[in-house]
């Protein structure tokens, strides 16, 4: 059952994408969109139950363990939310002419192809397949980013595809090195399978693994938006259509993180845990620090959110770098929390942008007066991103902090907290300026239901995870943590 699911899951979005190429009607397309996502989500939950019952399953180059499952769940939930959101968003976008009605199907198809590549990335056990799928995500999402076709979109797409291709070509180099080290120990057959490598990881030659991990770290780190390789990220995330931005920020960079985590486990087994943690710690701190000034002095709301992703990826990596069960647990939890929250933030920002017809935060004023519900969601998302309880990110940041303090990284903790507070100030300043005050340049027309529904879904998850961690989810995270730290 579960094994079949392993190859069914990537097929679902692929089939959906192909089916979409057959029609031009917006309603049918939206229906297919939501339907496909729902099926994907349902199957994933079935798989999750299977795995929680029977442990990891593998089939050929595919393998699912709890670690991958965490990311997979995040992916399907966000995909579903995005599909629901797209219904109302698209109506408005077509109305104002942002999207051309005749070319919708290619858009939908591309989105689902994008999703398919991400599913493969998560399910891949073979590191080569992982790399191929990652490049696939780059190509599909690059087209989506440039989808609007105006010069800014194309510029962002070009920067994105060039820089990330360079990045993951480094990733490929690292993969080759790891493979070489593994093949040297276990012979060529299956020396690309992560699970197989993990069997012999302690025997690998630390020198090569070290070089390989550095290449992978920088390479996939570029894709994950770690500073200083992050520069493409705000451009891409700000220029993409809002639903795509949500997917990029919510899931894609997390897929790259998954790749990094996979290699981290190998490196930790081969060269001792201290080495990868050291590297991760440095990149995490750099990301948190670098993001700060750009968040403070930002004017474009979507770029603001993009830089925020840089910060939060930094926090995840920081958690991995602090290491230990707590740190890794916190990092994985933060992956989920940030994905959900950031998607919510992009949705809320998208509705605000659609209402005011501008991404400039100085133009968006008094949102609470014209669209109270959307404004509330925007404020909630901002507060959660800033790490305020009772929202989910507070919990994961707390875990990361615990790990840091537990391992006595006082300097890192000091820098981290200082930046978090400053970023909090900046973010709340921007959000407050947008939400409160007298409304300018926006009519008080009713808020469309489907975006609100999508936001409600995500906000519910956000608050739920902020108030409690359900037992099933906790066990999942614990097992995933064991996968990483053994």
């Amino acid at each position: 059952m579960a094994e079949t699911l392993l190859w069914v899951l990537p097929l679902v979005p692929t089939v959906t994408a192909l089916a979409m190429l057959t029609t031009r009607k917006r309603r049918i397309l939206s229906g297919l969109d939501v339907g496909g996502s729902t099926v994907l989500a349902a199957l994933t939950f079935v798989l999750a139950r299977e795995v929680s019952a029977g442990g990891p399953r593998s089939l050929g180059v595919f393998r699912v363990d709890e670690l991958g499952l965490v990311f997979l769940l995040l992916l399907v939930v966000l995909t579903l939310a995005v599909s629901i959101y797209t219904v109302g968003w698209l109506k408005q976008a077509v109305a104002v002419g942002n999207m051309k009605a005749e070319s919708l199907r290619s858009y939908f198809a591309l989105v689902h192809a994008f999703v398919a590549t991400m599913v493969v990335t998560i399910l891949a056990d073979n590191l080569g397949v992982l790399w191929i799928a990652m490049e696939g995500t780059t190509i599909t999402s690059a087209v989506l980013i440039g989808y609007h076709g105006h010069r800014h979109g194309l510029e962002a797409a070009w920067k994105y595809i060039i820089v990330t291709t360079i990045g993951i070509s480094f990733g490929l180099f690292g993969t080759v090195l790891i493979y070489a080290a593994a093949a040297d120990v276990m012979g060529g057959a299956g020396a690309m399978s992560w699970s197989a490598i993990m069997q012999v990881a302690p025997a690998l030659d630390p020198g090569i693994v070290r070089i390989g991990f550095i290449f992978v770290m920088v390479g996939y780190g570029t894709k994950a938006g770690l500073a200083p390789m992050h520069l493409w990220l705000p451009d891409a995330h700000s220029q993409a259509p809002t639903p795509v931005s949500a997917l990029l920020s919510g899931v894609l960079i997390k897929c790259a993180l998954l790749a990094i985590i996979r290699f981290q486990t190998i490196a930790a087994a081969a060269c001792g845990a201290a080495f990868p943690q050291q590297v991760l710690l440095v990149f995490g701190l750099i990301s948190v620090v670098v993001a700060t000034p750009f968040i403070l002095a930002q004017r474009d709301i979507k770029r603001l959110l993009g830089y925020h992703s840089v910060e939060h990826v930094g926090i995840v990596v920081l958690g991995l770098g602090f290491g230990g069960a707590i740190g890794t647990y916190g990092a994985l939890l933060h992956v989920v929390n940030h994905g959900v929250t950031k998607a919510l933030a992009f949705f809320a920002a998208g509705t605000a942008i659609a209402r005011y017809g501008s991404r400039d935060m100085r133009a968006i004023r008094g949102l609470f007066a014209v669209a109270p519900i959307g404004a509330t969601f925007l404020m909630l998302a901002a507060l959660s991103l800033a790490g305020v309880p009772p929202f989910s990110i507070f919990v994961s940041e707390l875990m990361v902090l615990r790990a840091g303090i537990g391992h006595g990284h006082w300097v890192a903790i000091a820098i981290f907290l200082a930046m978090v507070v400053i970023i909090f100030a900046g973010l709340l300043h921007h959000a407050g300026a947008m939400v409160f005050g007298e409304p300018r340049g926006a009519g008080r027309k009713a808020e469309a239901w489907s975006p609100l529904l999508a936001m409600l879904l995500l906000a519910a998850i956000m608050v739920l995870l902020g108030l409690t961690i359900p037992v099933s989810f906790d066990t999942l995270l614990r097992r995933a943590t064991e996968v990483v730290v053994g």
């Binding site: 190509i139 800014h152 194309l154 510029e155 595809i161 180099f173 070489a180 020198g207």
Partner: protein, 218 residues
């Protein structure tokens, strides 16, 4: 052939690859850079053939063939076609002087050899100097991308760095799985196509080189 001869051959090919790399860096005309990268791909195909005969690994024959077909023929042709299509600015426009780029390239090469020298047991995992050469090629290729203004020369740099990875991958003693190599090459082709489309599209909509758009900042 004995392992030593293989190693010497690989090392010589590596030297040739580095030479072509220097040509790419030093090329002042885009077309020359394209020829250089084609030649580089050709050498890599040869290296693949040599290793294939040495190890009797059939996959390597296929890979060598595909490399010859795609990277030594198809992609250079595409690039040339694009150059002809948008018939302006044949010369590469460096961001920093080419001499400075060369110096940096030398630094990269030195670093990569120093790096692999610091590793003891590379040689039984990866044949000969394939690792340092591969690192050098990869980084220098990216260096070229970082120091050239036009989109095409950036694509050239990208292919050069891909070549570096291929060379190392081939030289891995056990050989890479065929399917992976094929997938990688397919991805490269796809990426190249998408990039080409973008270049042409920007050229057609706003009459500018896509690599010079810099409105998104901060």
């Amino acid at each position: 052939m004995s392992a030593e001869t293989i190693q010497t051959i690989i090392d010589d090919l590596g030297a040739l690859l580095l030479f072509t790399m220097i040509l790419i860096v030093a090329a002042s005309q885009i077309s020359r850079a394209i020829y250089a990268v084609a030649a580089q791909s050709l050498f890599i195909a040869i290296a693949g053939a040599v290793l294939a005969t040495a190890t009797g690994n059939v996959d390597l024959w296929v890979i060598a063939g595909v490399t010859l077909a795609v990277k030594a023929t198809l992609l250079p042709w595409v690039l040339h076609w694009v150059v002809r299509r948008m018939n302006v600015r044949r010369e590469v426009e460096p961001v920093i002087p080419i001499a400075a780029t060369l110096v940096l390239a030398v630094a990269v090469v030195v670093m990569s050899f120093h790096l692999s020298a610091s590793l003891g047991s590379v040689r039984q995992a990866i044949t000969g100097n394939a690792l340092p050469v591969g690192i050098a090629l990869t980084l220098t290729g990216v260096l070229v991308m970082a120091t050239r203004k036009t989109a095409l020369s950036q694509m050239v740099g990208l292919f050069a760095s891909e070549n570096g990875i291929f060379f190392t991958a081939m030289a891995v003693t056990q050989g890479m799985p065929l399917i992976i190599e094929i997938g990688v090459i397919l991805d490269v082709i796809l990426a190249a196509l998408v990039m080409t489309i973008m270049v042409l599209r920007v050229r057609s909509t706003v009459d500018a080189d896509i690599a010079e758009l810099d409105r998104l900042r901060g």
